[in-house]
């Protein structure tokens, strides 16, 4: 058994250079690049129109804001990236199995509730406190994902509509739940912060990045990405899931139980969303859970993360860091007279242009064939 593990690890490490370089030559990467550039261009144009002299400065801030305070800024990027990564994994994983999981926000909301509940109240757990809180988050998200999964598998309810319904149930349910559990914080719009023992430990990252808000969230997220990659590409379970996502009828013909796989897929996606909530809210000095009438925005940003990376778990690591980078830059835009909401505009533009990627790929393939004769994959 040990030997097997070592050989798998060896294979994986040897493959890393390949996996890192390959994307840059594949046409999928070019399409993503096209989407990014187009999206940022849209934002830039708007900044130009609105406040011309500062548009250049604004653009620079977006690009280099991540370096602003040196290592601390990079730390900020990683803090933002962790929940985005997991949210992107949630959307991407479901997408690979043929499902549109737009319900990450709701899954995060319920996962957050259970996590904060444990994090505030179960201080008796001592050293295991934060671990149990993380597990609670995962279970919460998984349960919230289970419901649309069941509805789709058993009743053919379209998951786009059902997951969004769950989002809004989560939004309003939060008001009721936090009040009933006595978890409302200093103002009615915030939940309480969790106890120190319930928060995610820093695992040394705080000294590396000179930040007292960073924690091991990003490490947990990357581990999750690797696990999802292995599941999807190396296991029989992943083989079945992808088959169901690509062709439900052939999968049925091959004896694969598509109902079971749809349910499992949504549960796993929900679990990932729950973990995202854990990385976001299990802290003492960072983000606080807001009890408001809007769904959690990381849920929708996760869609952008997944789409830009064409749902591949490892590329999602890169795209989540990219979006986190944009966000850190965006935070500093108010200094230039722009509202950070421009980042939201840029993100939605990137999503839009990545949808156009299909035609983009066709056009590029044609041009490549004409001028270079060969094929580009």
């Amino acid at each position: 058994m040990m030997k097997k593990l070592i050989s798998i690890l060896k294979n994986f490490i040897l493959n890393i250079p390949n996996t890192l370089i390959k994307p840059f030559t594949k046409i999928g990467f070019l399409a993503s690049l096209f989407a990014i550039i187009s999206g940022i261009l849209v934002g830039f144009l708007i900044m130009l129109v609105v406040n011309t002299p500062y548009a250049g400065g604004g653009l620079m801030t977006i690009f280099f804001g991540g370096f602003n305070k040196g290592l601390t800024s990079i730390g900020d990027v990683l803090i933002y990236a962790a929940p985005l990564l997991l949210a992107g994994l949630s959307v991407g994983f479901a997408f690979k199995t043929g499902l549109f999981n737009i319900g990450v926000s709701g899954q995060m909301a319920f996962g957050a509730f259970l996590a904060i509940f444990v994090g505030v109240k179960w201080t008796f757990l001592g050293d295991f406190h934060w671990i149990v809180a993380v597990l609670a988050a995962i279970i919460g998200g998984a349960l919230w994902g289970l419901i649309p999964g069941l509805l789709k598998a058993l009743f053919n309810v379209h998951e786009v509509v059902s997951t969004i319904m769950m989002n809004w149930i989560g939004v309003y349910g939060a008001f009721v739940a936090y009040k009933a559990a006595g978890l409302v914080g200093s103002t009615t719009q915030n939940a309480q912060k969790v106890a120190r023992s319930g928060a995610l430990p820093a695992w040394g990252l705080d000294s590396i990045f000179n930040s007292n808000t960073i924690n091991n969230g990003i490490i947990l997220a990357i581990i999750a990405a690797i696990l999802i990659h292995i599941i999807l590409n190396k296991t029989t379970f992943g083989f079945e899931l992808k088959a169901v996502g690509l062709n439900k009828d052939s999968a049925k013909y091959a004896g694969i139980n598509s109902k079971r796989n749809i349910i499992l897929s949504m549960v796993i996606a929900g679990a990932l969303s729950g973990l995202a909530a854990a990385t976001l809210y299990l802290n003492v000095t960072g983000e606080t859970y807001k009890i408001e009438t809007y769904p959690i925005e990381q849920g929708f940003e996760g869609i952008a993360v997944a789409l830009l990376a064409y749902s591949g778990p490892l590329p999602i690591i890169a795209s989540s860091i990219f979006f986190a980078w944009l966000k850190v830059g965006g935070d500093q835009l108010s200094g230039w007279g722009y509202d950070p909401n421009i980042i939201g505009v840029i993100i939605s533009a990137i999503v839009y242009f990545s949808a156009l990627g299909f035609i983009f790929k066709k056009v590029v393939k044609k041009i490549f064939k004409k001028h270079f004769g060969g094929e580009i994959i």
Binding site: F155, V161, I169, Y172, V176, F300, G344, V351, L356
Partner: protein
């Protein structure tokens, strides 16, 4: 217990006998007749639903509503835009393009409409004219916004769900950005000058008069007219026939000489038009500020479309039911026993969404969606 059931049964039997004997309402063969004249089954379904809903309200009234009329009126403010937006979704999907961006189109349309109305609310123009122009602008804005989705879905053959999601993300982000820029805050407050106390002689009509024509908005009536026109247009005109053909079998339409992409553009643009207007109508009568959100109404409209099996009459029926549920969250304080029940108010906000899931569970098994909806049209494929 048995006795109660027995007597209820007896009551209904007597009632149906009275109705039949006096030719007030009965069934002959396969047609429903009222006062000896045939009633179109469509009209009957709608009237029946309204009747049941009114009955329920009536019972609530008995349990203590000081302002039954207020409750009824508020439900109209919700039901009518909901039908409008659902019809928007209907046009798009019937032409073959899945449109989950109704929410975004609502937000954008309302945004443009409110901005205009706020700019002109102090001007010398008559308030109702301002409102009317606002509605028109909201519709046009929604239509232009929908072109983004149309372009991606039709010309670029992109994944329609992704394109729709992009629009849903774009609209609030863009609106909030501009609001910050122009007004400094996170919302646009407006003065509700459009409320009409009394629409003249129409309020003299018994029962219906005070409900419909007192303390209301003219927009309700504009919208009902638009809804009726939209329904007729889709099913009785030449363009409507061609549009529906594109959603069921675009190859057949193409072979018949119809330009599929033109029809689909029309479908998406009409959905933008209707959703834009619907977005504005859900803000003006119900809130004091525009907040760059549709609170999930766009998706509720989508659920109405699906539960209504893409058929106009059923959509109206489902929307009446949903709207009634939605109304509870705003109106429960006026309903005696609900107010006394002491449930936290956000529970009422959750109910419509929970209910939607349940209804969808029952109505999604056999989907009668337009057969070509969601698939980009590829003339080469045979």
């Amino acid at each position: 217990m048995k006795k109660i059931i027995y007597s209820i049964n007896h009551f209904f039997q007597k009632l149906s006998r009275i109705l039949t004997q006096n030719k007030i309402l009965y069934i002959e063969g396969h047609t429903i007749k009222m006062f000896n004249r045939n009633i179109s089954p469509r009209l009957f379904k709608i009237l029946f639903t309204l009747f049941i809903t009114l009955l329920i309200y009536f019972f609530l009234f008995i349990f203590g509503t000081a302002s039954l009329f207020f409750v009824l009126r508020r439900s109209i403010y919700i039901i009518v835009p909901l039908i409008l937006v659902a019809f928007g979704g209907l046009y798009s999907e019937r032409s073959g393009i899945v449109n989950i961006a109704l929410e975004g189109m609502m937000v954008f349309g309302a945004f443009i409409g409110i901005m205009f109305m706020v700019k002109f609310q102090d001007s010398s123009l008559n308030n109702q004219i301002v409102y009317l122009i606002g509605i028109l602008l909201a519709g046009i804005a929604g239509m232009l916004f929908s072109l983004i989705h149309a372009f991606a879905s039709i010309n670029m053959k992109a994944n329609q769900i992704i394109s729709g999601t992009a629009l849903n993300l774009l609209a609030p982000a863009f609106a909030l950005f501009v609001i910050k820029l122009m007004y400094g805050g996170e919302d646009i407050l407006f003065r509700d000058d459009y409320f009409v106390r009394d629409m003249g002689f129409l309020t003299k009509i018994p029962v219906l008069g005070p409900i419909l024509f007192e303390k209301g908005y003219y927009s309700t009536f504009y919208t009902i007219v638009i809804i009726i026109i939209a329904g007729i247009f889709l099913y009785k005109t030449r363009i409507g026939l061609r549009l529906r053909a594109c959603g069921e079998h675009p190859h057949a339409a193409d072979a018949a000489g119809i330009k599929v992409s033109k029809m689909r553009y029309l479908g998406v643009m009409i959905s933008g038009l209707l959703a834009g207007i619907g977005g504005l109508l859900l803000v003006v009568p119900l809130d004091v500020a525009y907040r760059a959100t549709a609170s999930g109404y766009g998706f509720l409209a989508l659920a109405v479309l699906i539960s209504g099996q893409w058929k106009p009459t059923r959509i109206v029926v489902v929307a009446i039911f949903f709207g009634f549920m939605l109304n509870l969250s705003g109106a429960y304080l006026s309903i005696g026993f609900l107010r006394d029940a002491g449930l936290p108010d956000k529970v009422y906000s959750m109910i419509p969404f929970i209910l939607t899931l349940i209804v969808l569970a029952f109505t999604s098994k056999t989907s009668q969606a337009p057969r070509a909806a969601g698939e980009p049209y590829d003339p080469g494929k045979r």
